[in-house]
């Protein structure tokens, strides 16, 4: 019974948990380990889920698991080799080959820019733009006041805008 309730409540958010962990860890193996550990903890603390927000609750556990593993490496990009998984399925097949190439190139640029952000900035951007969490939810997951969420988002966006504008500028000069 409990297992079923757990599965129905938590498993629907497994993709979201993995996506968040993958952006924290920047590689598949660590992300998988983190999410698996997080699910074990989630099961253990399942009765502590008092409100209805199972997704934000799971994000919090994923984040705590990631940090408790001492996984917080340097803030510079790691040497994850370029992989184009997940991009083919996103590519719009109505595009002609040239446009599709350009789209994949843009995705790779954005991915690189995001991965090079310091983790504190990267996670708020991922939670906000990709997972669509509200400021209040992000504050709860990250464990900082809403004002800090807002200032981190602002600074992260400034950096991304600079990096991406510079990148597209360099491209056009080539």
């Amino acid at each position: 019974m409990r297992a079923r309730v757990f599965e129905e409540t938590v498993l629907p958010h497994l993709d979201a948990a993995f996506n968040y962990a993958r952006w924290l860890a920047r590689n598949d193996a660590d992300a998988e380990d983190v999410v698996q550990d997080a699910c074990v903890r989630a099961m253990r603390y399942f009765s502590s889920l008092r409100d209805d927000n199972a997704r934000a609750w799971l994000f919090t556990i994923v984040r705590n698991t990631w940090y408790s593993r001492g996984s917080r490496k340097g803030n510079v990009a790691d040497a994850t080799p370029f992989r184009d998984d997940g991009q083919d399925q996103r590519a719009d097949h109505a595009l002609d080959p040239e446009e599709r190439l350009l789209q994949q190139h843009t995705v790779a640029l954005v991915r690189g820019a995001l991965e090079r952000l310091p983790v504190d900035f990267r996670e708020v951007i991922v939670l906000r733009e990709i997972e669509g969490l509200s400021y209040r939810e992000i504050a709860a997951v990250v464990g900082v006041p809403i004002g800090t969420v807002m200032s981190r988002l602002a600074r992260a966006r400034e950096r991304l805008q600079t990096v991406l504008t510079l990148a597209s500028h360099t491209e056009s000069l080539r």
Partner: protein, 242 residues
């Protein structure tokens, strides 16, 4: 509104977290001020770019491992419970009891709507008819229901229709229309008002999913998604305006 204020509140506005009055002031200012409009357009373009970043779905082996863990831990628990006679059963039971009322505090139908959404995603039974063509989706419902659900495509608003199916909510068969926003799936359950006693507009969060309810031209609509509340609201508005 001054340019400084616009600059300060622009992100909050674009994130859908600014109050209605200030939002209107920003829209008004941006329409007339070229500098702020550039800033606005830049931020909007950035958000679009970032939302196009890769979404990493959980690999199947991870899903299988977590499921196996959950089953294993619950059977171990059962064994211990039998041995320790009811003590643990009681604690597990109270855990559910604590959790139960929280989820039923909202609307009972909203709860069912979320169950339907979760079922459709987990059982991989999102569609009975999979098509982005509303001229395929609409006739598919003919004769399967005692009402005709309004089927519209919202691709131009960024919410393409991707299919439909029949579902069972609140003791009756309903039409489920499936839309998408980036990687997020939106289920819209439609049935004639009358069976559904839920009053008008409602926006709640149930188990991490955002749920909206509204009534339009005699039909009751339930939209549910893991999409954030602001964007789901945008979707609801687009659907009502169509």
């Amino acid at each position: 509104m001054s340019c400084e204020l616009v600059e300060r509140d622009l992100d909050t506005y674009l994130d859908g977290e600014l109050d209605t009055e200030s939002s209107a002031a920003i829209r008004e200012h941006v329409r007339t001020c070229a500098a702020c409009h550039r800033q606005f357009a830049g931020r909007e373009a950035l958000a679009r770019l970032v939302r196009g970043a890769p979404y990493y779905s959980a690999p199947h082996r991870l899903q299988a491992r977590v499921l196996a863990q959950s089953t294993r831990s619950s059977s171990v628990r059962r064994l211990v419970a039998w041995a320790a006679a009811a003590v643990l059963v009681l604690s597990v039971g109270s855990g559910i009891a604590l959790w139960g009322p929280a989820s039923s505090r909202g609307n009972a139908v909203a709860d069912e709507v979320v169950n339907s959404h979760v079922r459709s995603l987990m059982a991989n039974h999102l569609f009975d008819v999979q098509s982005t063509d509303l001229h395929t989706v609409k006739p598919w419902f003919l004769g399967k229901l005692d009402f005709s659900p309004p089927v519209v495509d919202l691709a131009s608003k960024g919410f393409p229709l991707i299919g439909g199916r029949l579902d069972y909510v609140g003791g009756r068969t309903v039409a489920a229309l499936v839309y998408q926003r980036q990687k997020h799936t939106i289920n819209v359950l439609v049935s004639p008002v009358g069976d559904d006693r839920s009053a008008g507009d409602l926006a709640v969060t149930v188990r991490g999913f955002n749920v909206r309810h509204w009534i339009h031209e005699g039909m009751s609509f339930w939209a549910v998604s893991d999409l954030n509340s602001a964007e789901l609201g945008e979707f609801a508005n687009a659907l009502q305006a169509s």
